[in-house]
Symmetry: C2
Subunit: 337 residues, 2 copies
DNA sequence: ACATTTTACGTAAACGTTTACGTAAAAGAT
DNA sequence: ATCTTTTACGTAAACGTTTACGTAAAATGT
């Protein structure tokens, strides 16, 4: 048996109500009894049972995070931001990786419902109608992170992917590159797919550089392996390119690694710019120039939004975060000065 | 108001006891009423409140994981193993990163106590007396992961670090290296510190190779930056070495990256073997030869142990996992054949 | 000194479940 | 047909809190 509020009350010769009041410092007790009770609590090593609290308060101090793949390095920083912030709010988080599987997602949603989480952060994936309706019924706040919905009124935090892709491409162009390829991940990806391709295309057009279907290859995902195979494909289609925009850092690393094996030197013969600015970007050889998103801060913000919505019982404004080009060593300036 | 078991009972014209019985399929209801109740549940979209359940069952289906730094890539695989397995058991996990801070650790322990977790996995850190006593009072199972305690009877799962370090060094030796340095992380680290140094030393002695204080440098941690500075230091102490054993993959990457900048070619001029076999090990240039631990499986096992202890209410045997040398391209065979 | 307000409590209901116990009806045994 | 067992429920207590309500004592006001 563990020690309950009753034990404290008995030993301190007060009612449980008084103990509870002291614990939550609601008015209704004297300095003297507070001292006594506090001492007893100390002596007994009492800790309130937050399950019982949750039952009556209808607040569990727990939020749920749904994300496609925890293994993806991208998620790390984001999760760190979420967890740190959540803990600062005196809450904890339940992480659920859905593997982009609809059924699994629904299962997790159910789990989160049963566990009565106070809110949900839905990350990096398309918010399907089914998900939305379920969460709506749960009647708890949800915010979208690194994704957005055109159909449902759910606040989001993300960067402008199209704009960021434009910037990356522009950076390549300003460094004198003219024949530029792009290796995209899954085209259907709502946020990392088409928008980044669009940004790339738009930049090429804006600078009046030639661009065709041959300039872009789409892979199944955003992993190292996708980078490897993407590079092989792009090589065939666009053999004389001097630079590549990769839709993720992992893809970029796949490119660099493959190029290394093919004796193509980066950046001397081939420039590569990535997207994400993962920790590994600075560990790569050469260190990877890439598009940075403030992932930690985004996780932080999303968490704050969830708590704000929970407390104020109303929606909150979406937030677009700025991106930046993190210059390192994988892009060469080829302008003939 | 959300839908409770009462609503279901009322609409189905039965008592809440019956509904509960059906939900938990305990005996005591007919096929007919089951059908009716199930239908009503479906119609109302009822989901049991696991907080209320937890209160009465004294089981929350939640476990806590304590680890020093979530950012460390090492933890990723481990956490994946833990989370996947936990979810398979119909439970969820609360991750707490303590940053090796005693005060923070105690705070989290308190949080986990208040949230009434069913068990705790304590990872990669020294189990201090204070922690042990606290968890002992909580009276829930705990298992140590990637660490162990000589003082307290807590089951653990880890690899034999000394042995693994011996193997790594031996691998270098068998590839013909004679002047071999080691870059260690924090020496005080109970599992990744001295044991790996000991393994290194023992292998050197076993093969009668010279070894002195100059052969080993210890850094503050196991990060990329530690590898960078460690390499600089070791270079001074042992300029003619042909191979390095790094106490972590991140350190190894730091070495390789620095070597690259100093125009020292890996593995042609310098061989490097790492420790951990992180995802990034295969992305590096050249791909990193390293000591692999079955991290995912270890997380899996630790989780299973926690649940087993919870159910059987008794301790369980510790488990040493095998390590392996993952051969890639960062070590050159220098035997003159 | 007395009326009034405030303070400092205690009592009990409530949160949404599970489960021990009781009981009437159905089923089975003789 | 009667007795016994089994089945299919319902009632109510319990889990550990919070909190609305009530009340006696203390503090304040006149």
């Amino acid at each position: 048996m563990s020690i309950t509020i009753k034990d404290v009350a008995k030993k301190a010769n007060v009612s449980i109500a008084t103990v509870s009041r002291i614990l939550n410092n609601k008015p209704g007790y004297s300095k003297k009894t507070e001292e006594i009770v506090l001492k007893v609590i100390e002596e007994l090593g009492y800790h309130p049972n937050s399950i019982a609290r949750g039952l009556i308060n209808k607040r569990t101090h727990t939020i749920g995070v749904l994300l496609p793949k925890i293994s993806s390095m991208l998620m790390n920083e984001i999760i760190r931001g979420i967890e740190d912030t959540t803990h600062q709010y005196g809450s904890s988080v339940i992480v659920c990786h859905t593997e982009s599987n609809g059924q699994k997602t629904m299962q997790y949603l159910q789990l989160l419902h049963e566990k009565q989480v106070d809110g949900i952060i839905f990350t990096s994936e398309t918010l399907k109608e089914e998900y939305y309706q379920f969460v709506k019924k749960m009647n708890i706040p949800m915010v979208l992170l690194s994704t957005e919905s055109y159909t449902f009124p759910v606040p989001f935090v993300k960067v402008n992917d199209k704009h960021a892709a434009y910037s990356a491409t522009e950076y390549l162009i300003k460094n004198g590159h003219k024949t530029i390829g792009m290796i995209s991940g899954k085209k259907e990806d709502l946020v990392a797919g088409q928008p980044r391709i669009d940004g790339f295309l738009q930049a090429m057009k804006a600078y009046e550089l030639p661009v065709s279907d041959n300039h872009v290859v789409c892979e199944d995902g955003f992993s190292f392996e996708d980078g490897v195979s993407g590079f092989h494909n792009l090589q065939k289609q666009l053999p004389d390119m001097t630079a590549i925009f990769a839709a993720s850092d992992e893809i970029a690393l796949g490119i660099i690694s493959t190029a290394y094996q093919m004796n193509i030197r980066v950046p001397e013969q081939l420039s590569v710019i990535g997207y994400d600015n993962l920790t590994i970007a600075e560990m790569s050889i050469p260190p990877l120039t890439t598009v940075g998103q403030p992932l930690y801060e985004m996780g932080e913000k999303a968490t704050e939004m969830v708590f704000e919505m929970f407390e104020k019982k109303q929606t909150v404004e979406s937030r677009i975060f700025p991106h930046e080009i993190v210059e390192r060593k994988s892009v060469k300036n080829v302008t003939k000065a």
